[in-house]
Symmetry: C2
Subunit: 101 residues, 2 copies
DNA sequence: AACACTTATCGTGTTTTTACGATAAACTAT
DNA sequence: ATAGTTTATCGTAAAAACACGATAAGTGTT
C-alpha cells in the first residue's frame, strides 16, 4: 500500500462529518421537526421522541457540534433552530457529491 | 397481530442508512472515485487509500449493503460501480431533506 | 494437481456510538 | 432562602464501527 500519506481532503472530511450527523433516524427526525417548526424548545422534541431526555440532549449536542443547529437561551428554556448558513453549505455539498461526474 | 408502531418512518430510517454509508471520509472518497471512473477494480481503490486491503474491502461491503455500489465478477478481479438507481434515490432524499420546509 | 492472483472473510483489539438513570446547573417564582 | 422548571452533563454499560494481519475462497494458468 505504497501511496498517499495525505489522507483525505478537507471537503471530504467535512461532508463525512455532516453525513455522520444525519446518520441516526432520531437526528433526521429532529432536523425535519426544526425545519418545519422553524424553532422550538427541547421539551417539544423530547415529547416527540421515544427516548429519555438525556438521550435527546445528546443528539442535540451532536447536531450542534456538527453545526447544523444552534440554541438560544430563553429562560427557563432553550430554543433550538436550524443553522441556516451551515444547512445551506451541507445542502450544497451533498448536491455536489451526487451531481458531480 | 397488529403492526408494531415504529418510532420513525421508513423514509427517515432509509435516509439515515444512506447518511451512515457516507459518514466516513474513505467511503466518500471511494464513491467520488467510482463516480469519476465510472467503474474500477478493488485493487485500484486499495492503491488510492492509506489503509489495508481488508479495511477497504470492509468499506466496500458497507457501501454495497447500503445499496450505493454494486460489483460484477470479471475473473480474477471484481469491478465495482455506482448503483445508479439507488444513487438517484439517495440524491432525491437528501435534496428533499434540505429543500423541504 | 499445483500455483499465482485477486478479493472476501475471520479473529482480535481499540475506539466510538448509543442509551439510560441520576445529578448538576441555570433560571423563575413564591 | 426554598421550591419548581428546564436542560446539560456525568457515570456506566452494551453495542457497533474501525483497523489490522492472517487466512480462506474463487478463478485462471500451467
Amino acid at each position: 500500500m505504497p501511496t498517499p500519506s495525505l489522507p483525505y481532503t478537507a471537503q471530504q472530511e467535512k461532508l463525512a462529518r455532516y453525513a455522520k450527523a444525519l446518520s441516526h433516524p432520531a437526528r433526521i427526525y429532529i432536523l425535519r421537526f426544526l425545519d418545519k417548526q422553524c424553532a422550538c424548545y427541547v421539551g417539544n422534541i423530547v415529547d416527540e421522541l421515544p427516548m429519555a431526555q438525556s438521550s435527546v440532549s445528546q443528539h442535540l449536542k451532536e447536531l450542534k457540534n456538527a453545526g447544523l443547529i444552534q440554541g438560544t437561551v430563553e429562560p427557563p428554556k432553550i430554543k433550538y433552530c436550524i443553522n441556516r448558513e451551515n444547512w445551506r453549505e451541507a445542502q450544497a455539498m451533498f448536491a455536489a457529491l451526487f451531481e458531480e461526474r
